[in-house]
Symmetry: C3
């Protein structure tokens, strides 16, 4: 029997929202749903390596200089406080044994959650595949994603 | 016959987004859908009493000092202007006879809308049940919420 | 045979989020889905003419002075930098041949995507129909929108 599909667009690159996305995704996977996460725009930062992404022109270089990647340095959507907020949040998560985003990536991969990286964002942000961590299952656009989403019952935009 | 289910994750704690969530929820309830709202992260502020939440350690105390609860003091997602924006918005809502969030809570409860408070957030924010208003129907995690959402046709993340 | 319905609530008025909404909407339309976009709150700025909206009282005048409309002057959700961010983003989009929001409006209309403007927001923001561009198909509230959304499989809140 085919599994029920569960899909999430991870648009936001903020620690708190990404955490919510992973809690929903891994919970759905543990409930035996087939989960796909489509990372796009700022959400792609979760899957970017921590190194500086080059970009193909001065605009992309400038944007990528401001818009750093790496699952362990995402900002908060509020109380960011120039980086103090995320440090605090991460300490609070650790004390309560809530996995970090890096740990959630590992858990999700073990559960078979599919990671799709949005190629449209790639083109205008100047990203290349080498900027991304292993674990990305597919590089694709919105049509690929929507053909999964339309077969499921739950789909979120986060 | 079973009612059609309608579910919302209320992640954001901003007046404008919470207002949108309640407009959708109460409209769905008036269309005879069975509505559940799952309050999580900043969204829990809607259901917190106005008193200062203690927290169990210094980090939680600090976070809860910044992150005040209470349905009548939510910030705006834009034009917050250190509190002037929400005051303005609330006056505009009143003039147009749009219910306040407090009034929407009452309306929703009268319609039988179910309020679920996220226990995962509880653990790392250091909240206890006594920090919350009456009207919370259930304290539960993502699995409980998703088992409702998967039975419905519409589910939003706000 | 009836087409599969795809619906989006466009709540946010930020360039990046509105762009994501239009990419999803026009992709869904090209996959032969029947697409409706419900513009509400800040999202209505996308459909507002660039002229100054008057408002009916001093509060609405003040809000509308801050909250400018026009698809070509939306802010970014991050790195806004007092308007430098959106300029940069628009140059990046142009270089990668990603349509502007204005162009996406034209594409969506050609595909038959339905634009619904939220009348509840109208009442408390003091908007009138003349503040809006042609291309709005319907002025309606949440109930009209939800009766479309409940018939579809995918519905997002952006």
């Amino acid at each position: 029997m085919e599994k029920e599909k569960f899909t999430i667009v991870v648009f936001s690159g903020e620690l708190d929202k990404v955490l919510a996305a992973f809690i929903l995704a891994t919970t759905a996977a543990s409930m035996n749903m087939e989960v796909s996460m489509f990372f796009t725009f700022w959400g792609l930062n979760v899957l970017r390596k921590k190194k500086l992404t080059s970009g193909k022109n001065i605009l992309q270089k400038l944007m990528n200089f401001m818009n750093r990647g790496g699952a362990d340095r995402l900002p908060l959507s509020k109380f960011n406080l120039i980086g103090a907020g995320p440090v605090m949040m991460k300490m609070m998560m650790k004390r309560s044994k809530v996995p970090s985003i890096g740990e959630f990536i590992t858990i999700a991969k073990e559960q078979g959650v599919k990671f799709i990286a949005c190629t449209t964002t790639f083109s205008f942000m100047g990203f290349v595949k080498d900027d991304f961590i292993e674990g990305v299952d597919e590089y694709a656009g919105a049509a690929t994603y929507l053909s999964l989403a339309r077969e499921g019952r739950i789909s979120y935009f986060i």
